[in-house]
Amino acid sequence: MIRPRWEKVASAQGTASIQILTGESRPLAVEAPVREAETRSEEELDLPWNVVVHNDPVNLMTYVTMVFQRVFGYPREKAERHMLEVHHKGRSILWSGMRERAELYVQQLHGHLLLATLEKVN
């Protein structure tokens, strides 16, 4: 599951360049064209997914803030805002986007033992 498809896309595209020999002795280096990935499945074109964190009376507020900063790279103020939303409203949407990335975030949050879920945006 946590096998982000973008990694496969990156390796399929490769980073190689080709060289075109011109009349001059010096070959002209041209970057290989970046081919649009052909992996746009129905799923990828689907609605985005939310990464939701739910309230937990055990996890410390300072700990949750630190985890949000680390996982999402949010500045402290934003991380604290989300932490307080979780605390007061019971849940907060931390991120929305493609499923693979959302899965990766949820995995990281579970690694820090937060109650996190993936939810399809309605």
């Binding site: 599951m1 009376p57 630190m66 949820v106 579970h110 690694g111 033992l113 109650l115 879920t117 993936l118």
Partner: protein, 164 residues
């Protein structure tokens, strides 16, 4: 008990035998074995039951990774706790040094232990916020104290990480 930063380590000094014993219990307390409630809390579902595929794949691919991660954290903590070995029957206070590089493992293991204990005893929000309850009384009271003591340690470690 005193906690302070000493170079590359966090030092818990003047640790009395009772608190030293609570620290020794971190790895065992973090182990959810034998408690379905603790197991369920440490390995929660990533989605609601409607998303069956997600939950199935999660069980298959992610959960084993999480188990490895959690085990690695408790093993690191257990290795640090070896410093307290041989002092179990001593009435004198001792010192524990936690290398700063192990701070994340400690945070993780302490969290595992707090969550597992809370799930085992099904502590209410009211109980969790009762920081003045005496640890002497029942096993439940002692476990609640354990949750709060581990939380206090987490707060200290977090504060030190911030100052790095």
């Amino acid at each position: 008990m005193e906690i302070c930063r000493q170079g590359d380590a966090l030092e818990i000094s003047d640790l009395d035998p009772f608190l030293a014993e609570l620290l020794r219990q971190i790895p065992a307390s973090a182990n959810p074995e034998g408690s379905p409630a603790a197991e369920q809390r440490l390995f929660t579902s990533p989605s609601d039951s409607k998303e069956k595929d997600i939950c199935k794949e999660w069980k298959m691919y992610v959960e084993p990774e999480l188990r490895r991660l959690f085990r690695s954290a408790t093993e690191t903590v257990a290795a640090d706790l070896v410093q307290l070995n041989g002092k179990e029957r001593s009435a004198t206070n001792c010192t524990l040094r936690i290398p700063a590089a192990h701070a994340d493992a400690w945070l993780n293991a302490l969290n595992q232990a707090r969550l597992a204990i809370t799930a085992r005893y099904n502590f209410s929000d009211g109980e969790l916020n009762d920081h003045y309850r005496s640890p002497i009384g029942s096993r439940r009271d002692l476990s609640l104290f354990q949750v709060n003591f581990y939380g206090f340690l987490q707060e200290f470690i977090l504060r030190e990480l911030e100052s790095l």
